[in-house]
Symmetry: C2
Subunit: 349 residues, 2 copies
């Protein structure tokens, strides 16, 4: 049994973010957390020691004030409160029969050293610990499900399809490219630096890759790599990129909308002006959210572990060390500073 | 056997159209057509006397010069050539065993009194002549297939769904609304005049209808009729309307993109700025073209005839009389002047 209160370093949102997030939008708070769980309570809970945090683009939405946007699903963070996101943790105390001290779990946790979870059913128990635990913030967590479902369920891929992935070296994109190669597709990815382009081609098995920031004319780049057009576009960026891709899709093409990172930090979203292509080319465009597909996780994780063991999948992570680096890492993903899936390591175990 | 050459009044495109089509973009030509079909030729053909022409928004694309748009599927008309579109005709001579003199057919024909069809397999023989023949330019022709397939195959409708149809009194929209009512959906349509709004509510069975031109704030109108959001949007107009609707869709909503008439006559298409709603609300948006679904026609036409006989479907047409009225009728649809499906009657039989 631990002492009743423990010191708990936390990352809080200071204020709603306008434009690109900046260091001053966040703060570090040294708090104490009541960690004596009430055994026998009707609402069992677990105390987690947090190990890895996932830096995900969608979190930007939670940093905006969405009161005026009733259609939104993602709830805003409350200024002054601890950030929340996906992460990997170790159970250090539990009153829930399913979770034992020493278990590893992944799920929604606070950006802090310790989190008390009062709805432990939301956590996923980690069975396979012979892979890096950080993978459960990426390939074996929500980004993995998003890539898997987004590609297989939304895009109806088949052997020989031409697949384009934007933000291709990120936590989701690198997996989509590899899943597409496993299906026998031709796969091209775009990224924001030459280093990432090399990574895509040398390590992640993409057939081709390009640095979109170095292309004067995105249309020319797409024509270079897809002279016959694109069957499947897995979109992580939205905006001008999506708009241009619409002109390069093949008839009966499929577009999975996973994220629109190019749009999250600007007030006026870039318009899609080529939407008529959707009719002319009979395109299916589907937005999706990985969390809707939790039910596929048990099957997915077993397949993925097998592929990792067989060397059929690799995963590239960019791991920031220490909670004090978390804000900088999170801000970095909106500038493309991460090379691979951005994770923050708070504690090794 | 007819005389070898017959006089043939034709509508020709004078020049590529820029902006809204205007009378001077078209001309009337008095031609003579060689109507002696070569019996015994390896390429059988039929001579048609044209009865009804369908005025369809997609024809606007064929009036633009698409040389610079390689992604496009619709071929441009050639200036100086006769307009081509869907229509209903009577076979007056045939060297094709499937078509006999006196048969009625529908398919792609010239905007002229007589057309020689050298690929008669493209024509659809009309079996049921106990309905107005003009229906084969609308409810029993391509607009009907588009409405049927677009609603049933693209939108996955179910009883109780909230359905919104734009350009709702047009040749396609009025059918979508009725198909949706037959499924037990709640259906709201928009149109451009009060007369059409009344038609939608009184004659076509829509639950509600509104004149979008009289709404100061389209969002308020949509909230008024869909306080809980829209399950299915059948889009005939595109542009600002589609963009606004994205904000009012329900989670897991479906959008069928059938046409974008609001965009056809402007150089810079209005952008879709609310595309992130597609992700947040997990929306499926599918473009489609009725001609891809010719195979469902035999089944569709039987169902539709049955529904017409039972009074379960009605069809409102706006029939211009005479080929000399064809250009004005065609131009009119881009200004919303038609009330119901716009057809041109060239000859009664």
């Amino acid at each position: 049994m631990m002492k009743e209160h423990i010191s708990n370093k936390q990352i809080v949102l200071n204020q709603y973010v306008i434009g690109y997030p900046k260091e001053s939008d966040f703060g570090v708070r040294f708090s104490t957390t009541n960690c004596s769980l009430s055994h026998g309570s009707s609402t069992p809970s677990v105390l987690l020691k947090n190990l890895y945090l996932s830096c995900d683009p969608y979190m930007r939405h939670r940093m905006s004030d969405h009161v005026s946007h009733p259609g939104t699903i993602v709830q805003s963070f409350t200024p002054g409160s601890v950030l929340v996101g996906y992460g990997v943790s170790k159970v250090i105390e539990s009153t829930h029969p399913k979770f034992l001290e020493g278990d590893f779990v992944w799920g929604m946790i606070g950006w802090e050293e310790y989190t008390v979870i009062t709805n432990p059913e939301s956590l996923n128990k980690i069975k396979h610990t012979d892979v890096p635990l950080s993978y459960y913030a990426g390939i074996l967590g929500m980004p993995g499900i998003a890539a898997y479902v987004g590609f297989h369920n939304m895009c109806s891929p088949k052997e020989g399809d031409s697949v384009y992935v934007s933000s291709a070296s990120g936590g989701v994109g690198q997996l989509v490219g590899q899943f597409a190669k496993l299906m026998g597709c031709y796969v091209v990815g775009s990224a924001s630096t030459q280093e990432k382009v090399e990574l895509l081609k040398r390590k992640l098995g993409f057939d081709e890759a390009f640095n979109y920031r170095e292309e004067q004319d995105l249309g020319l780049a797409l024509r270079r790599y897809f002279p016959l057009g694109i069957d499947i576009y897995f979109d992580n960026v939205g905006g001008h990129m999506l708009d241009e891709v619409l002109l390069h899709m093949k008839v009966h093409g499929r577009i999975a909308l996973c994220g629109m990172i190019s749009q999250y930090n600007i007030d006026d979203p870039e318009g899609l002006h080529n939407s008529f292509s959707l009719i002319m080319k009979r395109i299916e465009m589907k937005g999706f959210v990985g969390t809707d597909f939790k039910h596929v996780y048990p099957e997915y994780v077993e397949l993925c572990i097998k592929y990792l063991q067989e060397g059929k999948l690799v995963y590239v992570e960019d791991i920031a060390q220490g909670l004090e680096e978390a804000v900088s890492a999170l801000i970095g993903i909106f500038h493309g500073r991460n090379v691979g899936k951005q994770v923050v390591c708070i504690a090794k175990e």
